[in-house]
């Protein structure tokens, strides 16, 4: 069941995410990408692990991996408040819509992202955006680093506990540090 979609009805996918069995694997895949981005949604301040909000784990991860962050909703303020400046901010729909445009040259203008990581959007919204990308951005790879399996991504962590999640994020951060 760990690779069932987290929300019961999110089943209708013929092409399903490869499960990420170990955080190390995710890191290896991210390292292969030339233009990765990380999209962070509004749950970043609502989910807590080890008493710390998700966003703090993500800041560590972003600092270590140097992946440019796109903050959605009002998350930019939450990042800034914590001393991290996202590369950009816009609504989740806007970033989704740019990612399906093959002409878009990325937030830095240096090339269309080849890997988009997602984390912290409401599950169903993230699922829908990943579906949009699966269908309409065939050359883009997508990965979620949530603790909920997302069938529409290219790669997804399986469903897991908050502890698993915290650990995965920390391992990934460490792997990038070293």
């Amino acid at each position: 069941m760990s690779c069932e979609p987290w929300q019961c009805a999110e089943i209708a996918a013929t092409k399903k995410a490869n499960p990420i069995t170990k955080p190390e694997v995710a890191v290896a895949m991210i390292k292969k990408a030339a233009h990765p981005i990380l999209v962070v949604g509004s749950n970043a301040t609502e989910r807590y692990m080890e008493g710390r909000p998700l966003i703090e784990f993500l800041i560590d991860f972003a600092n270590a991996s140097k992946i440019p962050v796109v903050a959605t909703a009002h998350m930019v303020g939450e990042f800034l408040k914590r001393g991290y400046e996202p590369a950009d901010f816009m609504s989740a729909m806007d970033i989704g819509n740019r990612l399906v445009d093959p002409e878009w040259q990325g937030i830095d203008g240096k090339g269309h992202p080849d890997l988009a990581l997602f984390v912290g959007l409401p599950y169903y919204m993230e699922a829908l955006i990943l579906s949009g990308l699966k269908h309409f951005a065939p050359d883009l790879k997508t990965m979620t680093i949530d603790n909920m399996y997302h069938p529409h991504a290219s790669w997804s962590f399986p469903n897991g506990t908050l502890e698993d999640w915290g650990n995965s994020l920390k391992v990934m951060t460490t792997k990038f540090r070293c």
Binding site: W6, T72, H74, F89, G96, D101, Y124, L128, H135
Partner: protein, 782 residues
């Protein structure tokens, strides 16, 4: 005046056209040219009449599709896997399929409103005759049906005229639905254009329904001081028999209320409503009470408050009758749209039906005569209330603690909960004696019951939450303003200028259902924020209820705190779902009354005017239905942007502008014919926002229009910047796109702006007389 079915019988007559014998005529239409407005180019538009306009919008705001499913299962050549460009057996691809689903939703929505209107109009014609005059606001509202005039070119004056308008709608809906058949449209953009057409038709259907009921039932007529109505479960007097009406069609409720009035029972029973029927009840009867939005159904029935449940049409839970049966509340199904398998007792004597319901011989009946519904509902309520004694099926707090111990922590409830609420954790705490986490879920729970459906040990989780939140529930004592109906012409005259110039920073229309991500408080907060900022805030339907369901520091609800005027800082509840065209109508009337643009059959020009000049934005924070889709579509078609809350992403298609593509934002300057870049104003036509903070920033920004004067623009920008700084903790990154000349810059922000503009290599430009329509260019004449 138009009228139909006037019957003339001539025994014998000799005239210049010949000798007529035994002629019987039903007069189709008596032509009367008292409406002097010339007919515009597109009366009664068909599927393709406004396609060019649609394509202009769709080119600026391109669809972004997020399929909910990789498949299409609409015909038996399928199911087809359409993943990532694979075509189905009919050659369709996922883009076209996605837009087809949008068309289907909008068609269902338009059909629902039009069918509702048809039922109301047919019923009223039967009761009052075709010649019954329409009156939605006396002399204050001369433009009584702006949407109908605009779309169809008809100026309806009597109930009978509305029949003709509805025939147009029904014809279009049939065509639109047919396009969803396999092997019709191949292009996603043409599907989208048809979805926009469905939105136009939908607005007409709604308008017809509301002006018919306003006119005949004497609802508040464009009245800014429509009465304040008690709202909330806490306002229900449970010492009286309680009749609860759920749905959208007020006709059966009118039957109930009339019966009560006629029998001097108006203060002997409580008539309470849920969903739009609640709003329209209180437009008819100011002692009616509003329980709450659609999502309150289970809690109210299970809580045992209702002695009789009357179900009409739309948004009625399919298990409402089963839940009522559990608390021994008889059910009356009062709509041919929702017969619930009950026996049709319309032609049986009322007292027989009453006896069967009170004795429990049958759990419910179908009655299609609203007057009989009234009699039966009242009599049953009176007889059964002493028997039922408000029997409820909510568990006690101790029972909850005990039952929570049986929870297996399997997570299935959470995984089946649309809100992804952490029920397992709350139950764990409850099992340990701590109900606080369960209580915390009360505000976010939309009362859908899906958690219970998934639970392997059959815990009634929603009831647990309601019981744990009972204190809040019983404290729900608020006010809603009865739906006022239309905006007066004189109101338009006084604020038309400030709106078009941008000095009133915007019109915010907060509409639609209660599928909120975190409860209704967000709606209240947003409305209040913008009312305080002296936007015009309009509400309708469930959102109108949520807006009134919270209080300020002085204990005043929103409707007490702010006036009901269509004016800066006013908060207006226009009414139920079918009252939404008064919102579109207000924008249309700005173009017509203030700017003196012709209305009749002149859709493109008016939409172009609104799109470029009227800073209106719709927010459907909890939109869930196909009707909400078609309502939104009616606004898109007029060029008015609509925001939805996160669940709105499940409409699976956004209409998004690209602020980063400069070339997308050119308009004609009607004075010169030049193309002028006006920036992304408004940036999107349909957009999901995640949080209330994001919604507020987006609203402020989406009110910007190319036509703003420098003064208006600077006011709008100052709201945008202010909210952005407060909620995003930083300056907007796109300010340079909205500055035409330095005069646009808000006074107090000169320095900040100057730095930004320099960094962005900004250049001054002109403020055009903006239009997307080349034929509006007046150059030759000047």
């Amino acid at each position: 005046m138009t009228s139909k079915n006037v019957h003339i019988k001539i025994g014998e007559m000799k005239t210049s056209i010949g000798h007529i014998k035994n002629l019987e005529l039903s007069i189709g239409k008596v032509v009367d040219d008292s409406w002097s407005e010339p007919m515009g180019p597109t009366p009664m538009p068909g599927l393709t009449t406004l396609r060019d306009w649609d394509m202009k919008l769709l080119n600026k705001y391109k669809p972004f599709y997020m399929p909910d499913c990789d498949l299409c299962c609409l015909c038996t050549y399928g199911k087809c896997d359409l993943t990532a460009g694979k075509r189905g057996a009919c050659g369709l691809d996922i883009g076209a399929q996605s837009s087809r689903i949008v068309l289907l939703a909008c068609s269902i929505g338009a059909a629902t409103h039009t069918g509702h209107a048809r039922h109301v109009v047919d019923h009223l014609i039967e009761k009052y005759g075709r010649r019954y005059p329409l009156d939605v606001g006396g002399l204050n509202v001369k433009v009584e049906a702006p949407v109908t005039r605009l779309v169809t070119g008809i100026k309806p004056e009597t109930l009978g005229d509305l029949d003709e308008v509805l025939e147009y709608c029904e014809k279009q809906i049939t065509h639109l639905l047919s396009v969803a058949h396999t092997g019709q449209e191949a292009s996603n953009l043409d599907f989208e254009s048809k979805a926009l057409h469905a939105g136009r038709v939908d607005q007409v259907g709604m308008e017809v329904a509301d002006i018919a009921q306003i006119s005949t039932f004497h609802f508040p007529k464009a009245d800014p001081e429509a009465p304040l109505i008690e709202m909330g479960i806490g306002t229900v007097d449970t010492s009286k028999p309680v009749i609860m009406c759920i749905g959208h069609n007020v006709v059966p409720s009118v039957g109930i209320i009339d019966y009560m009035k006629d029998n001097n029972l108006a203060d002997k029973l409580e008539v309470v409503g849920l969903c739009c029927t609640a709003i329209d009840n209180t437009r008819y009867f100011n002692r009616g009470k509003i329980v709450g939005p659609i999502s309150w159904q289970l809690r109210f029935i299970r809580g045992g408050f209702a002695d009789v449940v009357v179900l009409d049409e739309q948004c009625v839970r399919a298990d409402a009758s089963l839940e009522a049966e559990r608390v021994k509340a008889p059910v009356i199904a009062a709509s041919e749209k929702n017969c619930i398998g009950f026996k049709n007792r319309t032609n049986d004597p009322a007292d027989e039906i009453v006896a069967d319901l009170v004795s429990g011989k049958v759990p419910g009946v179908l009655i299609l005569d609203p007057e009989k519904v009234g009699e039966v509902a009242v009599k049953v309520a009176q007889k059964i209330a002493p028997i039922r004694k408000k029997m409820n099926v909510l568990p006690s707090l101790d029972e909850i603690k005990a039952l929570a111990k049986t929870c297996r922590q399997c997570n299935l409830c959470q995984r089946n909960c649309p809100q992804d609420l952490n029920i397992p954790a709350a139950l764990k705490a409850a099992a340990e004696g701590n109900l606080a986490p369960l209580t915390d879920l009360y505000e976010s729970c939309i009362g859908c019951g899906r958690c219970e459906q998934a639970c392997p040990v059959k815990l009634e989780i929603h009831s647990f939450i309601v019981k744990a939140g009972e204190k809040f529930m019983l404290e729900e004592k608020n006010f809603c303003r009865a739906g006022r109906g239309a905006v007066q012409d004189v109101e338009i005259r006084s604020v038309g200028g400030p709106i078009v110039l941008g000095e009133i920073p915007g019109i915010l229309a907060v509409v639609g259902c209660a599928n909120y991500p975190h409860g209704g408080k967000d709606v209240y907060d947003i409305c209040r924020e913008f009312a305080l900022r002296r936007f015009i805030v309009m509400t309708s339907g469930c959102s109108a209820m949520s807006a009134g369901s919270y209080k300020n520091a002085e204990g005043k609800t929103l409707y007490e705190e702010f006036s009901g005027d269509f004016a800066a800082g006013g908060v207006l509840n226009v009414g139920s779902c079918v009252s939404n065209p008064h919102i579109a109508g207000a924008a249309i009337k700005v173009a017509n009354i203030f700017a003196k643009r012709n209305l009749r059959g002149n859709y493109e020009e008016i939409a172009d005017y609104i799109h470029n000049r009227v800073g209106a934005v719709g927010l459907a924070w909890g939109a869930y239905s196909q009707k909400a889709a078609s309502i939104a579509s009616g606004f898109w078609s007029l060029g008015v942007p609509v925001l939805v809350g996160p669940h709105g992403s499940k409409y699976r298609r956004m209409l998004l502008g690209r602020a980063d593509k400069k070339e997308d934002w050119e308009v004609y300057d009607a004075r010169t014919g030049d193309k002028v870049n006006v920036g992304p104003a408004p940036e999107h036509l349909f957009q999901t926002v995640e949080t209330k903070e994001e919604a507020m920033v987006a609203i402020a920004k989406l009110c910007i229009r190319p036509n703003d004067t420098w003064k208006g623009r600077s006011i709008k920008l100052s709201h945008y910047v202010d909210l952005h700084k407060r909620l995003y903790g930083t300056m907007p990154k796109d300010l340079h796109l909205f500055i035409r000349t330095m005069a646009d810059v808000p006074m107090t922000m000169k320095d900040e702006f100057t730095k930004i503009l320099e960094a962005k290599d900004w250049k001054e430009t002109v403020i055009p007389d903006p239009t997307l329509l080349s034929r509006m260019v007046r150059k030759m004449k000047e």
